[in-house]
């Protein structure tokens, strides 16, 4: 499985100028019409924006056994790329995001950003938590400005950028509201604005739309895609919803159930904008779903049939 890095599809076009609106609905996926080498945010596109090499994570369970959560994860994410990670619950996909964010430390392996190993948290990588973690004691505006305040950015600039990012997520008139006064979809957008306002190169999103109703989710998909195109961020998006992954991603990586390994990577070469209901999206999702179902079955088997004493051995390790 350590050859994952080489599964990266050669035909996948590199991101066009991230600020170009042509990115949406343009001729994406048709290789050849896009220049091959480009500089995005001052870094050569040859070096992956985020590189995960042989990431392993194990921990001790309460009964004292060692549990392997992540097993030799290798993934390369190009600057400006939208990567989706899918997998059954318990495969460690959230944990992987925490590792990239620097909130936890992997047992072995390296997390590289721009070729440099990450040391703890850094505002070049901002994680949007599944539970959001918005601060209820601050107004919407202060939440968005929080990261800038920590960075020591002056008040005037903070104000200006807060306004900008709130406009970007269409929440300008809620600047002075408190979090509990907002609906789920609005909170989601505050979290997005708060993350963007720190101006990270890499945006990590942990099942951000899982708890939303279908209409709100569709809207946020559109907005996220638009913002991604406008700001040129690299996005790593974790979800258990395969269609959502196809809807949004340039590429989908499928993780196995316990220990989490990269089972396969699927390039998504469908033109944008896509919709969850597109036939092509459904067709692409089916292929991934078949493989995902295997993993889900394995997870169910483990939870219900064989009981808790079976800890998956770290088979297949080099």
């Amino acid at each position: 499985m350590s050859t994952n890095a080489h599964n990266f599809p050669a035909q996948l076009p590199l991101p066009v100028d991230p600020r170009s609106p042509a990115r949406i609905g343009g001729a994406r996926g048709k290789a050849g019409r896009v220049p091959v080498v480009r500089l995005v945010r001052g870094v050569s596109a040859d070096i992956p924006k985020v590189g995960l090499t042989d990431i392993c994570l194990s921990y001790r369970t309460q009964s004292g056994e060692r549990m392997l959560a992540l097993d030799h994860i290798n993934l390369q994410v190009k600057a400006g790329e939208f990567l989706c990670i899918v997998g059954p619950s318990g495969c460690g996909k959230s944990t992987l995001l925490h590792l990239i964010a620097g909130l936890h430390q992997q047992t072995s392996g390296q997390v590289l950003v721009d070729g440099k190993q990450v040391q703890g948290t850094g505002t070049d990588r901002i994680l949007i938590f599944q539970e959001l973690g918005l601060f209820p004691w601050l107004t919407v505006g202060d939440n968005v400005a929080f990261g800038m305040k920590m960075k020591g950015i002056g008040k005037a600039e903070r104000e200006e950028k807060t306004e900008y990012y709130l406009r970007l997520v269409h929440l300008s008139q809620f600047k002075r509201s408190y979090i509990h006064q907002l609906s789920g979809g609005m909170r989601q957008r505050v979290a997005l604005a708060r993350a963007l306002a720190t101006e990270p190169d890499v945006l990590l999103m942990d099942e951000p739309f899982a708890a939303l109703d279908a209409q709100t989710r569709d809207l946020l998909h559109d907005e996220l895609e638009r913002i991604w195109a406008e700001t040129g961020r690299t996005i790593i998006f974790v979800t258990h919803n395969v269609r959502e992954a196809i809807r949004l991603g340039d590429r989908v990586a499928l993780l196995t159930f316990r220990p989490g390994r990269v089972k396969r990577e699927f390039p998504v070469d469908l033109p944008r904008p896509r919709s969850l209901e597109d036939v092509d999206v459904a067709r692409a999702a089916r292929e991934i779903l078949d493989e995902l179902r295997e993993e889900i079955n394995r997870s169910l088997e483990e939870e219900y049939n064989t009981g808790p004493k079976t800890i998956v051995p770290a088979e297949g390790q080099p």
């Binding site: 909130l103 948290t121 505002t123 973690g133 004691w137 929080f146 305040k149 920590m150 509990h180």
Partner: protein
């Protein structure tokens, strides 16, 4: 409105009972004063400014002492909550120390600080420090972990993380402890002031005893209760209300 009416009836009844007992003259008036006697004492006390000075002196002391215990208590509580070693060792000690009435520190305070303001402050701090510490420890543990993770994720660390994230995030969980700490501080202060000539409310109370002026004693007792009530009702209630509104803890009624 109904509540106000009930309160008026209750207090009118209480005053009536008091008047009745005083008028029956079971005890001599210098032992059991009448309500208007106490009223006169209150008026006189404010007129010659002795109560005003006493309140100012006492408030100043309690504010200083309380502020010290809040700062120390938060640091201690945070330390105990975030270190397993401290929790195992100091946690138990803190709980057991809480059963010690703060005035028991008075002899030590006298030896260490002499007959001075600092001795009184020491007793006040010892009285409220533990409540604040235990509240902060508890608050830090109850606080959802997501806030500290989100704070670190957004670039906060060290003191910034404490001041901008951990402290506000734990506030709803420690506000009752802060309130309890205030009550302990106030009680300890009055007790300590009663033991030492020192201008405060406690001393005015003892002066009433020395002069056999029970009206003045009761007047000061009423003042002590009133100040405690006002601080609780005005400062802490509004703090609680604001927290609840911001966090959306209660439906706004």
């Amino acid at each position: 409105m109904k509540r106000a009416a009930r309160l008026i009836v209750f207090y009118a009844g209480l005053l009536g009972l008091w008047t009745l007992l005083a008028q029956m003259k079971i005890w001599p008036p210098y032992l059991f004063p009448t309500p208007w006697g106490v009223g006169d004492a209150l008026y006189a006390g404010f007129k010659d400014h002795s109560f005003v000075i006493a309140i100012a002196v006492s408030m100043r002391r309690v504010l200083i002492g309380y502020a010290i215990s809040v700062v120390l208590g938060m640091i201690l509580g945070l330390g105990v909550a975030s270190s397993k070693f401290l929790e195992e060792t100091m946690g138990g000690l803190l709980v057991s120390l809480q059963s010690l009435p703060s005035i028991c520190w008075w002899p030590l305070a006298l030896l260490w600080f002499g007959l001075s303001q600092n001795a009184i402050l020491f007793v006040v701090v010892m009285g409220s420090l533990l409540s604040v510490t235990l509240a902060m420890e508890d608050g830090r543990k109850q606080m959802p972990k997501i806030y500290s993770m989100a704070g670190r994720n957004l670039g906060a660390s060290g003191l910034q993380l404490f001041w901008y994230v951990l402290l506000p995030a734990s506030l709803p969980f420690i506000v009752s402890g802060l309130k309890q700490g205030w009550a302990f501080a106030w009680r300890s202060l009055i007790t300590a002031e009663m033991l030492y000539l020192s201008l405060g409310l406690g001393q005015v109370l003892m002066m009433g005893r020395d002069l056999n002026d029970m009206s003045a004693v009761i007047a000061v007792m009423i003042l002590i209760i009133a100040i405690g009530y006002v601080v609780d009702g005005v400062v802490f209630k509004s703090m609680e209300r604001r927290l609840q509104q911001r966090w959306g803890l209660t439906p706004s009624t």
